[in-house]
Amino acid sequence: MTIAEVNTKPITPKNQEVLLEVNHLVKYFPIMRGTIIQKQVGAVHAVDDISFKVMRGETLGLVGESGCGKSTTGRAVLQLHRPTSGEVLFEGKDLVKMKGEELRQMRRRMQMIFQDPYASLNPRMTVGDIIGEPLLIHGLATGKEVEERVKELLKLVGLNPSFANRFPHEFSGGQRQRIGVARALSLQPSLIVCDEPISALDVSIQAQVVNLLEDLQRDFNLTYLFIAHDLSMIRHISTRVAVMYLGVIVELADRNDLYANPLHPYTQALLSAIPLPDPVAEEKRKRIILAGEIPSPVNPPSGCRFRTRCPLAAPICAEVRPEFREVAPGHFVACHLV
């Protein structure tokens, strides 16, 4: 059996330049009632005061279970959902304050790869039109140039350039995801938000797409905000990892640090819940099985969001929301008991 080369050098960004800085980001979705006169009766607290930085050239993994607000965070960063409050600084400029043409120009620099490769490509457009459209919209190329650029991009993501005249339905899930990657690359962005780009794909295909994303990152010095629920894959691809629970980041640390030394009880439970593809290791493992389920984000628990399921919860956890603080260099955690 050939085991792939073990490269012990972790992927670290070349410099420590901050590309994206998110400060106290909040996104509430209003819940409206009434037919003629609409009244707001509550709000889904999808993202509730989170802060993080993304360095140029790194991959920040954003991980959590369904409904924890990780996709909302990704979309709020790109201003696809306008945040309720907070700052999103991209190269030092606040996107939240921008609108119209100014924001549209910034959008060139930040792109997105979506989860569902079947829903995210227009079935009535050819692959060439899909990949070339951003170039036309931003007026970066015309006519023959677009065609040439599309061919280059297709080659770049490992597809045959002659596929440009075909339609999305002629491709498999993995190939469609490659088309989505080519579209995201067409404007030569600095930041790509990858929203669960591999979770709809089969196991043997996932590795193909992940390897492609890694190669492109290296070749074009791309920065990824990588959203996923698969903790093994997040560990593989990320430089640093942020763990979300019910709208807040509970822990953020360097990849190796987080997996070797998780501090937040939720991170610990989450890591212990992941089954390992190794029967010998599985026999020895102790699982922390969390009781109950994620509470509703409409009416989240007071104090610490995790306290209702936390095996260690103390009285203070119900009263005070724990501060998200740095407990070791680069290791942030929001827990009273750490």
Binding site: A4, Q208, I237, V280, E282, E293
Partner: protein, 329 residues
């Protein structure tokens, strides 16, 4: 241990507009008493179709079981009368399906649906059945089970619905439980709860299990024996430890290498399997994995390999020894 179930040469085809799809192409396996068999494969490999064929749950048309036997208690499940198979399904062989939302009838209460097998198979009165259902729901970890009997499926969360599904499958104390990707739609912390629950219940009730999944991680901690499927064939089968420690089929090797390992230190580039799984419109006279295989040799294109014994109780359908790259002896 005695064989509880013995499936031989099962073949299922689907008649579609594009031609005949060969979904299952001569699958044979055995299930022993008290054993958990893991069936692993990617979407479309025929893992669910195999089990549904055995239970005669394949809609026909378009599907048809064209060959094979499935011996259970001295009878062939594929040949017995419709009434006999109905009596076996639900009371002796139960299934948990993947999607807990669509597997329940949305207009009937949970209590009504979980009690149904008891009333049908055991002739219990509704009152008796409901009492038993409440016990069962408590056992699978649903709080205030008695009050929740009159809830409808939409009032349960995903994890709770899957628990109710398990209760429904176990309520008649079946001998065999077939779990068809029961945790795929769930979050990891809920998945851990469900896997833990089913494992414990199977142990307590002395049940045999067939667990179908695409997740090699779940199987590692759960199964005694594993069968890996590809393109409608079992391409490798062995006890769980040898299969992970020394996989013999290039596809199994490829799958294991393409997974990132959380417990690894450092960074390793993932080895992907190039290409995509085939849809078989005719039975291949070559190895169905050959187009994607890194070890492919001439013979692989000439003859589809049968399962060869490559170690004690370890079978792989491959002409090539992946450690040497040469043909097997």
């Amino acid at each position: 241990m005695a064989d509880l179930l013995n499936v031989e040469g099962l073949e299922t085809q689907f008649y579609t507009q594009d031609g005949i799809v060969h979904a299952v192409n001569g699958v044979s396996f055995k299930l022993k008493e008290g054993e958990t068999l893991g069936v692993v494969g990617e979407s479309g490999c025929g893992k669910s179709v195999t089990m549904m064929s055995m239970l005669r749950l394949i809609p026909s048309p378009p599907g048809k079981v064209v060959a094979g036997r499935a011996m259970y208690q001295g009878k062939d499940l594929l040949k017995i009368s419709d009434e006999d198979i109905r009596n076996i399904r639900g009371s002796q062989i139960s299934v948990i399906f993947q999607d807990p939302m669509t597997s329940f009838n949305p207009v009937l209460t949970i209590g009504r649906q979980v009690a149904e097998p008891l009333e049908i198979h055991h002739g219990m009165s509704q009152k008796e059945a409901y009492r038993r259902v409440a016990e069962m729901l408590t056992m699978v970890g649903i709080p205030n089970a008695k009050e929740r009997l009159n809830d409808y499926p939409h009032q349960f969360s995903g994890g709770m619905r899957q628990r109710a599904m398990i209760a429904m499958a176990l309520v008649c104390s079946p001998q065999i439980l077939i779990a068809d990707e029961p945790t795929t739609a769930l979050d990891v912390t809920i998945q851990a709860q469900i896997v833990d629950l089913v494992k414990r219940l199977a142990n307590e009730l002395g049940m045999s299990m067939i667990w179908i999944t695409h997740d090699l991680g779940i199987i590692a901690g759960l199964a005694h024996r594993v069968a890996v499927m590809y393109a409608g064939y079992i391409i490798e089968t062995a006890a769980v430890k040898p299969l992970y420690a020394q996989p013999e089929h290039p596809y199994t090797i490829g799958l294991l290498n393409s997974l990132p390992r959380m417990d690894e230190s450092g960074y390793r580039r993932l080895t992907s399997i190039e290409g995509i799984p085939p849809i078989l419109y005719e039975k291949p006279n070559y190895c169905p994995f050959a187009p994607r295989c890194r070890f492919v040799r001439e013979r692989c294109w000439q003859e589809n390999p049968p399962l060869l014994e490559v170690g004690p109780e370890h079978y792989a359908a491959c002409w090539v020894n992946p450690r040497t790259g040469g043909y097997r002896e």
